[in-house]
Symmetry: C2
Subunit: 199 residues, 2 copies
Amino acid sequence: MVKALDALVDALRRLPGIGPKSAQRIAYHLLQHERDTAQKLAAALSYSVTHVRNCVRCNTFTEEEMCATCTQGHLGKRDASVLCVVETPADQLMIEQTHAYSGLYYVLMGRISPLDGIGPKEIQLERLLQRASDGIVREVILATNFTTEGEATAHYLSELLHARKLQVTRLARGVPVGAELEYTDLSTIAHALADRRAS
Amino acid sequence: MVKALDALVDALRRLPGIGPKSAQRIAYHLLQHERDTAQKLAAALSYSVTHVRNCVRCNTFTEEEMCATCTQGHLGKRDASVLCVVETPADQLMIEQTHAYSGLYYVLMGRISPLDGIGPKEIQLERLLQRASDGIVREVILATNFTTEGEATAHYLSELLHARKLQVTRLARGVPVGAELEYTDLSTIAHALADRRAS
């Protein structure tokens, strides 16, 4: 009915996870109660699109040519001999928040997923292999997700990296902290048993 | 880590129904795969905020001073003697889409909700009463939601309108189309029984 409104609802619908009803609810809410929020969001979107790019070394999002983490590695403030491979910047952020890792990252910005037509070429594995073979990296930690696609990606990478005589590790699988065995799935328990450690 | 990205995630989080994880996922998705969509959304937000306002007669969203529906009413193309009161433009849209109504609307842009500090003054019932008493309106259909707040709003309005000798009606309550009695809640069935009609 109102063209400007239809255009806004259409644009909101294209966001991942937002259906037509949610898009309409958000548009109406913004226009009736939160015009300031709408203005701020518009500004943040424009600014991000023009200023955020991918780090030349690790692919993660950055406003500079090289991201803060890679720059720290460059200055010797992080351990450049360990490279952690993750699927997305969100995964990288989770690992950073553990404060349990001081090496560098390589962000795939995807995963191998043949069903979606995403093969090794699409996620630029060649660049990762070059990076891992730079003579500085000694260990590559595969921290892709434990989903079918993530596991396939890790498996594929593992073979390529082993062929280059690199040390390759994978995040441990096991029972999550705080979990009860009774409610943990059997394959997780099986992995936890197989990977049991001295206590 | 990246300021522009943090600002975008913060702005997205302020949308209704979007939590911190969704906001991050949307931001990353837009920047990695859909920069066009992000630009379009920014433009749609800016345009809507500056161009969409409330209709001077019925409150609904419009780009003109008077909305298309009210203008049709003005030109005699809709029945100006019936006024349907709804809570939001979304509710109005639903009723329009039924093609079962040819009267005019009054959009409350809210509902009476004492717990949220929203009383009769906050939703400008005075303006509705003036409109309903203009000598043209003969029947007011209360189409607020069948929630506690919507029912309270309808009840309150009903008393005020009856005092002005207007005909006041309420949407019928009953069993939804396609529903099975076995899975319909009892109070709905009770209403459907009480309001049963000749067949």
